[in-house]
């Protein structure tokens, strides 16, 4: 370690220059930073269900649909119909829109009074209905057909959909913007809703950008205030802030180089880095301030300070990195993996910069005339000092009660843990009242939801048996609560009806083939069946329901499929419900793996630090306790386990363990100075204890900044992390000493010298 500090001080100018150069170079890359708002793309491409979902999305256009809903008192009026027609025409003109489906151009199959077969559009764009009678006729007819009712027009005729299918490889966000622009220009009255992935991506991009713009300055301001209160010097504020700013720039720059766009999770990386990473800079600066009083020579002083602060800061950084790295194993969403990798990389950078750049700068700076060290400043706040003294006494007197209390809390929390809900639904990312949620609510009320569920059919689609089974499958989906099942079988039935054969699937293949001829070339066909007619999809939607119900739905459909599949044809299920089921499984799985990995990694760090297996185990108590508290509270408060809160456990372990490390380290040192337990405890609480509390406050506030963001999982994660910081901080200064005192664990030192001493030392110890 001494060699390393020599090196940093010797090459301090090079260190400063290199750090700034790297920052400039990587900062330059930030101009190419991209946002990936396509939440579908976070799903693992290797999962068969996701593969099939993407396949259907590509082949049948599902993932590429932008939906515009118009809402008025009654959409069947001259003006609205003209508007629908106008918008349909305008949307079609867009480069990346391959086709548009609306009331104005949807396929209509009917037989008129004279028996003439009409295979046409519901509304003739060249001959729009004009008179009230014509419009009423259109309304009655449209609402009488299941092909339109609940799909393109709501039951109450108050809302209608215009669905734009985008080309493969289309720029979804650009097209969404163009569509919105057209709507704006058309001067639509009434409400307009925007649904489907392209619009969602547009909104999510905006949310990510605005969150970044709001949260980074906010958390920076918070850190500046905290730093100013702690140090009261410019360097004390600037250097830790620079270290996190640099590390944030480095990590984002590297993400750009590796073409990793920002996601709804990595959105939080800067905030978390600034909150967590500034601690390393704080340690280094405060140690330098401390040494300033003891040593006059700038170089020696710097080397000494760096040498002493090196190990604790490294341990803090390594454990925090371990916490974030624990997410990358077995995570289902690429966004979580990227978040884990790049946050821990950022922590690594914050650490490196804190122990190279900061000391290099400090060793160049002149000593401040009247420097007040962190410890000294705290010393002055006698209220806090008194509080700490009282705390020390309390812990010493009531160790058993404290431990009993801790166990009681854990027991209550275990009860709470049984009530933890799980939420994997992606719409849950957005606050109620946001356009995405409002659209979803409207879709639920008027169009049976928008969460797609799909059955891929393989076989001879023109075979009557297959078509009949497809029809039956549609009915089964409906019986399970799905809405608007649609397949080519429905169209064939419609055709059969107009041919005067009744609304059934004809028994002969030739008849099916003949009917098919009439549909040939219709756009809708390409959304339902492949050109070779060897594969088709049955599509339906469900409303947003809880995870348990989604699981049941998926399992029931699986069972049904198992019982119906034959050699003639096969059904395979995909769609959001099955993906949610897998996501749910994986959230549970990765919760356990990340916790175990994080605990094991942190335990190894503790063993390395304390040279004691039992000691390391005792050191884990505060974070294990905190895990119970966090998960218990999740159960009691109804904060669900989701893609962000699942990260809380790992971060808790990685960040929270620092308090134990600092506490045990100091306590052991003080105890070895031949002090009694109380003396050692008092000293530890006065110094490290206070530092811990200040750090808890800073990081807690940093995480709470996430509450001001717009993504619900990050808000929840922010709250939980704040709670977790408080819990692990207080557990480290109350529960941990109580356990150490009760067990008289050997790793601290030799307790036997104090066998009779505890209460005897009491009076004399009062300052």
């Amino acid at each position: 370690m001494i060699n390393y500090s020599d090196l940093v001080i010797k090459y301090r100018k090079t260190v400063i220059f290199t750090t700034i150069l790297i920052t400039l170079v990587l900062g330059y890359f930030l101009k190419d930073m991209k946002i990936n708002a396509d939440i579908i793309s976070y799903l693992p491409k290797s999962d068969p269900v996701v593969k099939l979902f993407n396949y259907i999305g590509e082949q049948y256009g599902g993932n590429l649909s932008a939906m515009i809903a118009l809402e008025t008192d009654d959409i069947f009026n001259k003006e609205t119909i003209e508007r629908i027609n106008h918008l349909t025409q305008e949307f079609k003109k867009l480069e990346d829109v391959s086709y548009v489906t609306s009331l104005a151009n949807v396929l209509d199959i009917r037989r008129d009074e004279e028996g003439t077969l009409q295979i046409s559009r519901l509304i003739d764009e060249y001959n729009l209905p004009n008179t009230p009678q014509d419009i009423q006729k259109l309304k009655n007819y449209t609402l009488s057909k299941t092909m339109y009712r609940g799909r393109l027009v709501s039951d109450d005729a108050k809302a209608t959909l215009i669905i734009c299918r985008l080309m493969e490889g289309a720029d979804k966000i650009k097209t969404a913007n163009q569509l919105k622009e057209i709507i704006k220009k058309s001067g639509v009255k009434g409400k307009v809703y925007y649904g489907g992935l392209p619009f969602q991506m547009m909104d999510i991009s905006k949310i990510i950008l605005s969150d970044l713009k709001l949260l980074i300055p906010l958390v920076s301001l918070l850190i500046v205030v905290t730093l100013f209160l702690s140090f009261g010097t410019l360097r004390g504020v600037l250097l830790p802030l620079l270290s996190v700013a640099f590390s944030t720039i480095w990590v984002l720059g590297i993400m750009v180089i590796f073409r990793i766009p920002i996601t709804v999770l990595s959105d939080a990386i800067p905030v978390i880095l600034i909150a967590v990473g500034s601690a390393y800079g704080i340690h280094v600066v405060s140690k330098f301030d401390e040494e300033q009083m003891n040593e006059v020579n700038k170089i020696i002083r710097s080397k000494k300070a760096l040498h002493e602060v090196g190990v604790p800061v490294m341990l803090a950084a390594v454990t925090t990195m371990a916490g974030f790295l624990s997410f990358i194993f077995g995570s289902y969403l690429s966004a979580i993996r990227e978040f884990g990798i790049f946050t821990s990389l950022g922590v690594f950078f914050a650490w490196i910069i804190s122990v190279t750049f900061i000391p290099a700068v400090l060793s160049l700076l002149k000593a401040k005339g009247k420097v007040v060290s962190l410890d000294n400043r705290i010393e002055r706040k006698s209220v806090l000092t008194n509080l700490m003294d009282k705390l020390g006494e309390f812990v010493l007197k009531n160790e058993k009660i404290i431990i009993a209390g801790g166990i009681a809390i854990i027991l209550v929390c275990i009860f709470g843990m049984t009530k933890i809900e799980r939420k994997v639904d992606m719409l849950d990312y957005f606050k109620p009242g946001t356009p995405i949620r409002m659209t979803e609510e409207m879709m639920e009320n008027k169009f049976g939801g928008s969460i797609p569920i799909q059955i891929l059919v393989k076989g001879d689609i023109q075979d009557s048996t297959v078509l009949k089974e497809m029809k039956k499958m549609g009915k089964y989906l409906e019986s399970q609560g799905a809405h608007n099942p649609q397949s080519v079988a429905d169209l064939i039935e419609e055709m059969s009806d107009v041919m005067g054969e009744g609304k059934t699937i004809p028994d002969s293949k030739d008849k099916v083939g003949n009917l098919w001829f009439l549909l040939e070339g219709e756009e809708i066909l390409s959304q339902l069946v492949n050109p070779d007619k060897t594969e088709a999809v049955i599509q339906a939607t469900i409303v947003n329901v809880d995870t348990a119900r989604i699981r049941r739905l998926v399992e029931n459909i699986e069972k049904y499929i198992k019982n119906t599949n034959t050699t003639l044809f096969t059904f395979t299920q995909t769609g959001m419900p099955s993906i949610y089921q897998h996501l749910d499984d994986s959230v549970m799985r990765s919760q356990f793996t990340s916790l175990i990995i994080a605990i094991v990694l942190v335990y190894i760090c503790m063993v390395f630090l304390l040279h004691s297996f039992t000691g390391a185990l005792i050191g884990l108590v505060p974070i294990v306790f905190t895990l119970f508290v966090v998960f218990g509270l999740m159960g009691f408060t109804g904060i669900p386990l989701d893609i962000a809160t699942v990260l809380t456990g790992g971060i808790t372990i990685g960040v929270g363990i620092d308090y134990s490390i600092h506490f045990v380290n100091r306590f052991r040192e003080e105890f070895k100075k031949d002090k009694t337990e109380l003396e050692a405890l008092d000293k530890t609480l006065e110094t490290t204890g206070k530092a811990i509390l200040i750090n808890v406050m800073a990081i807690m506030l940093g995480f709470l900044v996430l509450v001001f963001g717009n993504l619900v999982p990050l808000q929840r994660g922010g709250i939980l992390m704040a709670i977790s910081m408080i819990s692990s901080g207080f557990a480290a200064i109350i529960l941990l000493p109580a356990i150490i005192l009760m067990t008289k664990a050997g790793f601290i030192g030799d307790f036997s010298r104090l066998i009779n001493g505890v209460r005897n030392h009491f009076g004399s110890n009062d300052k």
Binding site: K92, K511, G513
Partner: protein, 252 residues
């Protein structure tokens, strides 16, 4: 009138061998309307036609599907199409008569139904030709032409729909061979004025008095789908009777 125009086309073809033909055509300087009228004449020249046509549908991945049909046409407004393949569509017939009257025969049902095909932009039998494209029309009745330029042996016309004409296209740009007034290429622009369909004709052959393109294609640039139309067998002016363009004949 019609006969005259054909001989004119032939005459013009003969002149191709003469030097300075271009100069001659320019000197003659037909105006846009006259050129389009010639084009219409050439298209609608034969009294009747009996065609065996292979339609090849090519999707965006280059996959091909074959569809065979027989087509009878008398004048410009009576047409009977019978599908020969694929097997499940064999025997399906479509009869088009003047005034947008269409009948459809489905052999599996043994039923004939009148179909209202007032929707011009519906694609015909899975091809890239819409009913509008299949209509036997005289361009000069629907469009106002304008000469864009003359290059080599081509006259390039721009056609814009006349007021009140219902069409899916905002304009057409057509390449007319200045020797025989045959169309080699038509670009179809959608209402947003972007090019979205291109029709090309090649392998022109002279059969008797008439020029015919043995291979033509329509490509939908947006859908990236293409239909090739190959004339397998062509007969002109064999004296088809009006009886062949009736419902009764359709279901035979």
């Amino acid at each position: 009138m019609m006969k005259k125009s054909i001989s004119y086309c032939v005459l013009v073809a003969g002149l191709l061998l003469l030097p300075n033909f271009n100069n001659w055509a320019q000197e003659k300087s037909l105006n846009a309307d006259e050129i389009l009228a010639k084009v219409d004449d050439v298209i609608n020249a034969p009294e009747d036609q009996e065609l065996k046509v292979n339609l090849i549908l090519i999707d965006k991945d280059g996959k091909e599907k074959l569809r065979e049909m027989n087509m009878l046409q008398k004048g410009s407004e009576k047409r009977m199409v019978k599908f020969l393949s694929p097997a499940d569509q064999k025997g399906i017939g479509v009869l088009s008569l003047p005034n947008d009257i269409m009948y459809l025969y489905l052999p599996a049902f043994n039923k004939t139904r009148r179909i209202a095909s007032h929707v011009k932009n519906t694609k015909f039998a899975g091809t890239d030709f819409t009913y509008e494209d299949m209509e036997a029309i005289r361009y000069s009745e629907k469009y106002i032409p304008e000469i864009l330029k003359q290059v080599d042996n081509f006259i390039i016309l721009q056609l814009k729909p006349k007021a009140g004409v219902k069409t899916d296209y905002s304009k057409l740009i057509m390449w007319v061979k200045s020797d025989n007034f045959c169309l080699t290429k038509i670009e179809h622009y959608d209402k947003g004025n972007t090019l979205y369909k291109v029709r090309t004709s090649e392998k022109f052959e002279k059969l008797g008095k008439y020029w015919i393109s043995k291979e033509s294609a329509m490509e939908d640039l947006k859908a990236r789908h293409k239909t090739k139309m190959i004339m397998v067998d062509v007969r002109f002016d064999s004296g088809l009777s009006d009886d062949m363009f009736t419902e009764r004949y359709l279901s035979r």
